[in-house]
């Protein structure tokens, strides 16, 4: 016991412990795992982080690429059939638990139709496939997890987009843009959309921890060796160095995402760009 206390510096005062921990974090030294393999935690994370990040980035792109047009269309054609249909879709999307959807898709596409692999990242005999088949195999393994992870987010974001757009198109400057005689596509696509995007970017930045949290479920069901799976196992095994490192990484990723969100305001909102040029 005494020895352990020495090794983990638990005999020192709290602020010193915290300081030495911080110092090591800067060098990405998270210590070694408590598991019998005792590997450096950073090695474990290096194996796992890329796939989780890649999945989340792709998910995010798909969500934005689909939610924005859907939201805009249902706002500009409020109460149209399209709007009503998406409303129904959104409620279904909100109400569907993703673990259930995952299993249903696995049964349909994996077992009954046999079109897509059920879980994992690659076929067990992946090494022996020709190059293009390898790429297709990898992509097809990711299809279902991405669909599941995108589904719920898509529903939410298209709703935010619709709401935010509805507010913007009632503003006076949109009216005046129309009055200027600009075509509707320019009014919506250029003048209205930019302002309507602002709150969306904020929400998008804030939703990163949620997406990573969602990876825990998706990665467990689809047997994807990512951060979520690592985190779950570490919690079950009380592997504190791994848990700590995971939390630090997720926190950093969230901060970075928020930074990106803040920076992208200036791309969207001209007023923010103006203020950057300096005060008048």
């Amino acid at each position: 016991m005494e020895q352990l206390r020495k090794i983990y510096e638990l005999d020192k005062p709290l602020h010193e412990q915290y300081w030495s921990w911080l110092k090591r974090i800067v060098w990405l030294d998270f210590g070694r795992s408590f598991a019998p393999h005792g590997r450096p935690v950073i090695h474990m994370i290096r194996e796992r982080l890329p796939i989780t990040l890649a999945l989340n980035v792709v998910e995010m792109l798909i969500i934005v690429a689909m939610a924005v047009p859907v939201g805009v269309t249902s706002a500009t054609r409020q109460y149209s059939t399209f709007d009503k249909a998406t409303t129904v879709f959104v409620f279904v999307g909100f109400a569907t638990p993703d673990f259930w959807l995952a299993v249903m898709l696995q049964i349909l596409f994996g077992v009954h139709l046999g079109w897509l692999p059920i879980s994992g990242l690659r076929l067990p005999v992946w090494e022996y496939l020709p190059f293009w088949q390898q790429q297709w195999d990898f992509a097809s393994h990711l299809l279902l997890p991405i669909t599941v992870a995108t589904f719920g987010g898509l529903a939410g974001f298209s709703r935010y987009m619709r709401q935010s757009m509805l507010e913007v198109i009632r503003q006076d400057y949109v009216q005046s843009a129309r009055a200027k005689g600009l075509p509707e596509s320019v009014v919506i696509g250029k003048h209205a959309l930019r302002n309507a995007m602002l709150p969306i970017v904020t929400v998008l930045g804030l939703s990163v921890p949620g997406l990573i949290g969602g990876s825990v479920i998706v990665e467990t069901i689809f047997a994807i060796p990512g951060m979520g799976q690592l985190m779950v196992q570490a919690v079950y095994e009380r592997d504190y160095p791994v848990i700590m490192a995971n939390l630090v990484i997720v926190a950093s990723v969230t901060l970075v995402a928020n930074l990106i969100a803040d920076l992208s305001y200036s791309l969207i909102d001209p007023r923010i760009r103006v203020s950057r040029r300096g005060r008048r």
């Binding site: 598991a35 019998p36 393999h37 069901i221 060796p225 779950v232």
Partner: protein, 553 residues
């Protein structure tokens, strides 16, 4: 070994499942489907895709305690002895062994010509080293206590190992089934207390087992390839891939889609969800008793349960068949005592308690529980017979058992309150403090029949395992005798007597040994199931040429 067990037609399955639940020790066998007629000659090749529910935690199983690490480790490493399908010890790296008359010296003669995966010869020095590694205080091994009675391990020449015990120790042989470690690769790491940092622990394990390590992708898969220098000859199946799939539901879907070749089924999957033709053609289902039994236990410090007649009455009042049907869908064997049916130590010539309410009532009346109160509960000295039955959260089977017990004892006039508790709190606040009246729990059993720590009267302390506080001088004597002799015939006598005594005295109501339900692709031949499971001699499994699925590599 090479021929698969003759299969029974599908219609027989349901019958067999029912029958097996009742009569103990019956044949463990593959029970479904018809095999396509194939020329079943052994052939080399193919890849076997196995599934693991969790990541392995190390590639040196000696320092791990988790199932996945042992499953993989068992293929890479081997021990001096192993256990056949009926759990009898047989030679693996040891050709033969011998106990001295006083059981304190155990001499192994090693198999000549065995090689490590890197080509170096395996010698008696490696055996000594393996022991030194385990008992070294710097090695984080959970198996140290197993070797506490070993006084010395000496190599005599290259192929004789002599182990000396400080006192006779019956479990001695079992412990030498441990995974042998290579001295030439690990010695410096072990001496410096850095065994976890050795390359053998994660990237390059070297053993003497039937398969060699090829690749590990953390959280994804582990690949092993057959060892051409294995002492019994190259294994037929060329490659084993362990896929890591953390969700049992996903594993089952993968099985249906032929993404994996083997897994263990749940009782529900076994009896309800795999009963269609396509599945039966593609897979062979097995069942064998698992390494543990479930029981209804009492706090014997409680004066009501200290009376043997009360315990016996409960045993008569609980319909074990109904429990097994309701909880395990019939996929379990009635337990008559703490030993697994079908093993050398087991006997069924003990007192049994077939369901009989009348007998139960009579026994309770003899014990003084005659009158009933307005609620229909039995009373003695003005107090009604009610107690609290505890079990742990997260185990549905145990909760269901508690409910069945509750219903059946209620009929007898005994009130049962069920409480389901979180596992850690259950152990700490209730079991360790002996703060319970009755429990539904399970005991895992090891390969050796020694159960000293569970039944001996010296083991009733707060951190010890005799938490029901069972004290019986006859049982103490038998346990002591059984663990200090190494002659199998004597041990059989002691343990048969132990089972008779336990069945008569009934410190707890033995309920059932749940069946383990492995399923393996039907293209794999040569599987022989028994109380030890299906994996014994999996190096002799093969896929006939015409049925091989993965030919690449």
């Amino acid at each position: 070994m090479r021929w698969r067990i003759p299969r029974r037609p599908v219609a027989a399955v349901a019958f067999l499942a029912l029958a097996a639940a009742g009569c103990s020790g019956d044949a463990d066998s593959a029970v479904d489907g018809a095999t396509p007629p194939v020329n079943a000659t052994a052939a080399y090749g193919d890849t076997f895709i196995d599934s693991l529910l969790g990541n392995i935690s190390s590639l040196i199983p000696t320092i791990t305690g988790d199932g996945p690490s042992h499953t993989v480790g068992d293929q890479i490493y081997s021990g001096l002895v192993t256990f056949d399908k009926d759990l009898n010890p047989v030679g693996e790296l040891a050709q033969s062994w011998e106990f001295s008359r006083d059981c304190r010296d155990l001499t192994f003669r090693l198999r000549p010509g065995v090689k490590w995966h890197d080509g170096r010869p395996f010698t008696a020095d490696d055996v000594v080293f393996t022991w030194q590694t385990i008992v070294d205080p710097k090695t984080p091994s959970p198996y140290k206590s197993e070797y506490a009675l070993v006084e010395s391990v000496r190599a005599e020449g290259a192929d004789v190992v002599r182990v000396h015990y400080s006192q006779p120790f019956a479990k001695a042989l079992t412990n030498w089934g441990t995974w042998m470690l290579p001295r030439h690769l690990l010695e410096t790491y072990v001496r410096e207390g850095r065994i976890r940092e050795a390359p053998q622990n994660w990237t390059a394990p070297v053993g003497t087992g039937p398969y060699r390590f090829k690749e590990l992708r953390s959280g994804e898969k582990i690949v092993l390839v057959s060892n051409p220098d294995y002492w019994e000859g190259r294994p037929y199946i060329s490659r084993i891939v362990y896929r890591i799939i953390p969700s049992q539901a996903t594993t089952f879907l993968e099985l249906k889609a032929k993404g994996v070749d083997a897994t263990a089924l749940t009782a529900l999957q076994y009896s309800r969800q795999t009963d269609y033709r396509a599945f039966q053609r593609a897979y062979t289902k097995f069942r064998h008793p698992g390494n543990g039994y479930t029981y209804l236990g009492f706090n014997l410090k409680d004066s009501r349960f200290a009376d043997r007649r009360v315990r016996q009455a409960f045993a008569y009042a609980i319909n074990k068949r109904e429990v097994i049907e309701g909880v395990r869908l019939g996929l379990a064997r009635e337990a008559t005592g703490p030993y697994k049916p079908g093993t050398w130590v087991y006997t069924d010539k003990v007192k049994t308690y077939p369901f009989d309410m009348e007998k139960a009532r009579r026994l309770l009346a003899e014990a003084g529980w005659k009158e009933r109160n307005a609620d229909g509960l039995l009373i003695k000295d003005g107090k009604p017979f009610t107690f609290e039955l505890l079990t742990n959260q997260g185990n549905d089977e145990r909760k269901k058992i508690a409910e069945i017990v509750q219903a059946q004892l209620r009929e007898l006039g005994v009130g049962v309150e069920i409480r389901v508790l979180e596992w850690a709190a259950f152990l700490k606040e209730y079991i360790k403090k002996r703060n319970f009246e009755a429990i539904v729990l399970g005991w895992g059993i090891g390969i050796d029949p020694d159960q000293y720590v569970i039944w001996h009267s010296s083991q009733t302390g707060p951190d010890q395992l005799n938490h029901i506080s069972y004290v019986n001088p006859e049982v103490d004597r038998l346990l002591e005798a059984g663990r200090t002799t190494c002659a199998r015939e004597d041990r059989v006598k002691y343990y048969h007597r132990l089972q008779e005594t336990l069945a008569e005295d009934l410190p707890l109501v033995f309920l059932y040994f749940a069946d383990v339900l492995p399923v393996v692709s039907s293209r794999v031949y040569g599987i022989d199931a028994g109380p030890n499971g299906i994996r014994y001699r999996s190096n002799r499994w093969f896929v006939p040429q015409a049925l091989q699925r993965y030919t690449a590599g």
